[in-house]
């Protein structure tokens, strides 16, 4: 019996460790619209293409909120540098939208998209 408990504990410990290290896809799964990063990226892309700056600002705020909600959940499974890169791109994206610089905003948004995809690899 003691042996069973011992081995179960070891297996549980290993399983929890493996989940924490590889659980990005599960942990980044949105619980609602408020933390759905890919949806807000797509919506923001459409707004930028249509030069709809008020809408872009709203989607930017939603994207920023979603990202900050996801961050604590995925921080154990991803690279810190990738997360820092998203933070920086997000800050630059905000300024570009306020300055209504479509090209710059599109660059920053596509960078965020690439970093988001990199997080899962």
């Amino acid at each position: 019996m003691k042996k069973v408990i011992y081995y179960s504990l070891v297996l549980l410990l290993m399983a929890v460790s493996l989940f924490i290290m590889n659980g990005f896809h599960y942990l980044a799964r949105p619980h609602g619209a408020a933390d759905n990063v890919p949806v807000h990226i797509t919506a923001l892309k459409t707004s930028l293409e249509q030069n709809s700056w008020d809408e872009a600002e709203q989607h930017y705020q939603a994207l920023s909120t979603a990202w900050h909600k996801i961050k604590p959940r995925i921080q154990f499974s991803v690279e810190k540098d990738e997360m820092n890169s998203i933070d920086l791109s997000l800050a630059r994206l905000g300024i570009s939208i306020r300055a209504q610089d479509q090209i710059r905003a599109a660059i920053e948004l596509s960078e965020i998209e690439v970093h988001w995809k990199d997080l899962s690899h």
């Binding site: 410990l13 290993m14 460790s17 924490i20 290290m21 590889n22 154990f76 499974s77 690279e79 810190k80």
Partner: protein, 229 residues
């Protein structure tokens, strides 16, 4: 991102992984490690520390590296146990450095073992005169095994024809002021007996005792109190 929290989480993963892996690798003592085992240990430790604090990369690749090194070491251990040739290849072979009182210079040269190393190892074995040595073998873990010439070997009780008194192993019956009742039963005595023994030595309570051991074979109860006079 709370860096300290992430480091804490990753450190717990590294610690538990190392604990499990090292337990699985067995109970080889540090003194029994070969030079190669030692290097493997350092490498595994270094990977574990990267897993713990290197936040510029994900924890998973570090964990995979840790697992790979553990698997290699386990494979080496397994093959060394199964095949003598593999054991000889991975761990090396003991080398005779003194044979019949003569220093084997060629053997020493092959393993880069200097005369100072030999003299130092002999001194560690309480041998200060090399002429007393019949055989000396450098083991794979770096220890020197020494066989003295018959005339310098210490006399045993058998040589002196003295009948040895029973030795036996003593067990702890009081540990940090607490009576270990399980050991009392194993030693074939009881609490009343212990209390009587303590009273005879002027101790009113087991809490005054730091360590008390009892040797069943010799019947000796050894007591060390917290207050040493």
């Amino acid at each position: 991102m709370n860096e300290a929290l992430v480091v804490l989480g990753r450190s717990l993963i590294a610690f538990s992984t190392l604990l499990v892996f090292t337990r699985m690798l067995g109970k080889q003592q540090l003194s029994q490690l070969t030079y190669f085992d030692y290097i493997l240990g350092i490498t595994i430790g270094s990977i574990a520390s990267s897993l713990s604090v290197d936040l510029s990369s994900r924890a998973w690749p570090h964990w995979v590296a840790l697992f790979t090194w553990f698997a290699i070491v386990a494979l080496l251990q397994w093959s060394s146990i199964r095949w003598k040739t593999a054991d000889r290849f991975f761990s090396g072979q003991p080398v005779i450095v003194i044979m019949k009182g003569k220093i084997m210079e060629q053997n020493m040269k092959t393993i880069h073992y200097t005369i100072s190393d030999l003299l130092e190892h002999l001194r560690n074995k309480d041998v200060f005169d090399i002429s007393k040595v019949e055989f000396a073998v450098l083991e794979t873990n770096g220890n020197l095994s020494v066989l003295l010439k018959p005339e310098y070997q210490p006399a045993t009780l058998k040589d002196l024809q003295i009948k040895p008194s029973p030795g036996g192993i003593s067990t702890e019956v009081i540990y940090s002021g607490v009576v270990v009742e399980a050991n009392l039963h194993k030693a074939g005595v009881n609490l009343q007996w212990l209390q009587k023994q303590l009273q005879e030595q002027g101790i009113s309570h087991p809490e005054e005792v730091f360590l008390a051991t009892y040797n069943r074979d010799s019947g000796v109860l050894s007591i060390d109190k917290y207050q040493d006079k």
